[in-house]
């Protein structure tokens, strides 16, 4: 996009922001009457009999095997009971095809009233084109205060909030403690421990770490954390937000460590021909000792028929340099619900996503499918032990760097994924890797 094109919406946004700030000042009082405060007593002040409206809602939890599906359907059912005047027309589409479907729908102005999307740079093109409804006017302080701090930052652009999250995911290092014990290997606390563990397992013919590198984002799981642990949060964040450079010695070093691990045989054989599904099977069979992936993996580990339910432990990924902090994590809030800017029923739509995200937060947490972004009260005894471990582990978290491929915008994200695949295949050197990434910061 040219500079001018970018600047114009920027100015409009700035002007709109002033207006919305002004509006916000008075809205706290007024919005309490007009927009229904959600989870309290339902539609208590429905003095006038309202005509029922139908909202369309699209999401991605279509498969029964998905651990978010049942909780989500429960929330929808609860919403219907609590709000008989709002009917939801729900459509679920498989994740990969959903991405194409929703883009086409938004382009054709055929998008549903409410839909699932991903935060960060991923949603930026929708925001720039004015396709999403800014929620500032609809979120009173009380609603905001019920969410955990920082939750809204990934969907805030120029001070405007464009979505609500329900849960967050954390890049999580899973350790099969039984395999470690059986083979007398020390659970890694430092990089040296990690390489020693890799070599020890490889020596015994055990694949040390799982990765389904055919799905490039699985490589990025490892690369994101290696860079965070090597170069530290600040350096990464600056490079990713175009305020710094990728061409830093530490970012090169992070990439080099990935190739070093590959050379040691740390990963699944022929990883780049293997999908995530395939690569995870031996891990669930208890044959692979280490796995770094999103915290959603817990859902699978804790399945009733799981063979590794009691064998898995969660640890912090070891530190690679003094610039990083062991309490910097990857991941964060990426799955959100947004409202179509062209919806006929703005109030109802916002009311629906407020209800859905807050209640889904709770259900997802109970199902072990993610950490809630709302201050929810649940019966802690119902939370599975691994999720509890994760909560404990992330209690001292300092920062979260969103998955790089979500944080970056469309073509930049694609570039990152292409380059990390090439790095993994050793078709480029770490030096070349950062040089190629830097093109996204130097282009016009």
């Amino acid at each position: 996009m040219s500079k001018i094109a970018k600047r114009i919406p920027g100015l409009i946004l700035a002007a709109a922001m002033l207006l919305s700030i002004a509006a916000c000042g008075g809205s706290a009082a007024s919005s309490d009457n007009s927009t229904v405060s959600d989870s309290k007593a339902g539609s208590s002040e429905a003095l006038v009999q309202k005509e029922s409206v139908t909202l369309s809602l699209w999401h991605i939890w279509a498969a029964d095997s998905e651990s978010s599906k049942a909780p989500f359907e429960k929330v929808l059912a609860d919403f219907q009971t609590a709000n008989p005047d709002i009917k939801l027309k729900v459509d679920a589409t498989e994740n990969e095809t959903y991405k194409t479907k929703i883009r086409a729908a938004v382009a054709a102005n055929e998008a549903p009233d409410i839909f699932f999307y991903w935060s960060g740079g991923y949603m930026k093109s929708f925001v720039d084109a004015g396709k999403l409804l800014p929620l500032n006017d609809y979120l009173d302080d009380e609603t905001r205060s019920r969410q955990l701090t920082g939750t809204l930052s990934n969907m805030t652009f120029d001070g405007k909030i464009y979505g609500l999250a329900h849960s967050m995911s954390v890049g999580t290092f899973f350790i099969n403690k039984e395999l470690f014990a059986q083979n007398n290997v020390k659970i890694p606390e430092t990089y040296e421990d990690l390489t020693a563990a890799v070599k020890a397992f490889r020596g015994k013919g055990i694949t040390p770490m799982a990765v389904g590198a055919k799905d490039t984002w699985c490589i990025d799981m490892y690369l994101d954390i290696l860079e965070t642990r090597q170069a530290g949060y600040d350096a990464c964040y600056k490079a990713l937000t175009k305020t710094g450079s990728f061409e830093e010695p530490d970012i090169i070093e992070g990439a080099r460590k990935l190739q070093e691990l590959i050379d040691m045989g740390a990963f699944t054989d022929g990883a780049q021909g293997v999908t995530r599904d395939e690569s995870e099977v031996p891990f669930y069979e208890g044959k692979i000792p280490m796995y770094f992936n999103g915290s959603w993996t817990i859902g699978n580990i804790m399945r009733p028929d799981s063979k590794i339910k009691d064998k898995i432990q969660i640890i912090k990924f070891p530190k690679l340099s003094d610039k990083s902090d062991i309490n910097d994590f990857t991941g964060g809030v990426s799955e959100i619900f947004v409202v179509n800017a062209n919806t006929k029923f703005k109030d109802e739509s916002v009311k629906a996503i407020k209800y859905i995200s807050e209640n889904f937060a709770k259900e997802v947490y109970l199902a072990g499918a993610g950490l809630p972004t709302w201050k929810v009260s649940v019966d802690e005894s119902k939370i599975d032990p691994l999720t509890k471990e994760l909560v404990k582990l992330t209690q001292d978290s300092k920062t979260y760097t969103l998955w790089w491929n979500t944080l970056l915008e469309g073509d930049d994200s694609q570039l990152y994924m292409n380059k990390s695949a090439e790095l993994f295949a050793k078709r480029i050197t770490p030096e070349q890797f950062v040089k190629d990434l830097q093109t996204m910061n130097t282009k016009k």
Binding site: D64, S65, T97, T100, D277, P282
Partner: protein
């Protein structure tokens, strides 16, 4: 052509065995997917991914079929797929036979050029047409979100190939029949309907099977154009069985078996006709 049977030397026997060996091996290679798919549909993830890739299932998990069908919509999806595919075949056949007849039998100025332009349709990367067609479809409110929004593009993309097959076949039908009908005072429309159409049966069978394959298996248009459960097709249903972070593949295998069966049946049914049409229309291509 019957040379194999004439004089038999030991060398002939060896040659013959080698030939049958090659033919046999390729048969195995060709039929293997069916065997494999059926086995796949009766296994769980750990067998599918590594435990037992090609063998018979250790435990026959018939419940995979139950799981695939538990999603009560599979019936609707199957029905929709059948309707969409059936309609696409019918429209393609009607439109393509008409066009082919005008293109090859009638006499007009831009015949050759028109033929070439129509065949252009085969060269379009279908994904690039996705958004433009979607943008156009939404302006026609009546077909939006219905199976018709699939039938129309499927038909359009099937027509070029169909025209090619039918013109090839038409060329082999002697003109005398039509000329006789013409002398008898038949109108051109009647001639087409009563004389030509019945002769085209083998070609239509060929068109039917290729169109069937295309429409029955199509995914991207079906995903993007339809957001209404009542209008979704089987491929979309199967696709939606795979999850973002976890998928059980056994039931997907079962659904794939269900989706593949009609294809095999149709093929068995039309095989002979296809053969006839290709043999007849062959030389012209």
């Amino acid at each position: 052509m019957k040379s194999l049977k004439s004089q038999k030397t030991p060398l002939d026997y060896i040659a013959k065995s080698v030939i049958y060996l090659i033919l046999g091996l390729w048969t195995i290679a060709s039929l293997f997917p069916i065997y494999w798919l059926v086995c796949f549909s009766l296994k769980d993830n750990s067998e599918i991914f590594g435990g037992n890739v090609a063998g018979l299932p250790n435990h026959f998990l018939w419940k995979n079929y139950a799981t695939a069908f538990m999603n009560g919509k599979v019936g609707t999806y199957l029905l929709n797929s059948t309707f969409v595919t059936g309609m696409t075949i019918i429209f393609t056949t009607i439109v393509a036979t008409m066009s082919a007849y005008a293109l090859i039998r009638m006499k007009w100025k831009f015949q050759k050029v028109s033929m070439s332009i129509m065949l252009l349709g085969m060269m379009i990367p279908i994904h690039s047409a996705l958004l433009p067609i979607f943008l156009m479809m939404r302006t026609v409110g009546a077909i939006k979100n219905t199976v018709w929004s699939l039938i129309i593009p499927y038909t359009a993309f099937a027509i070029p190939m169909a025209i090619m097959i039918i013109t090839g076949f038409l060329d082999t039908i002697p003109r005398e029949l039509e000329e006789a009908a013409c002398i008898d005072g038949c109108s051109i429309y009647r001639t087409f309907l009563t004389v030509i159409l019945p002769l085209l049966r083998p070609a239509v069978a060929t068109v039917a099977i290729f169109t069937f394959l295309q429409a029955w298996n199509e995914l991207m248009f079906a995903v993007v154009f339809i957001s209404e459960d009542s209008a979704k097709t089987l491929t979309v249903g199967i696709q939606s069985m795979s999850g973002q972070y976890q998928t059980s593949w056994g039931p997907i295998g079962a659904a794939l078996v269900v989706a593949t069966l009609p294809t095999l049946l149709i093929y068995l049914l039309l095989n002979k006709q296809v053969q006839k049409s290709l043999v007849a229309g062959a030389v012209k291509g």
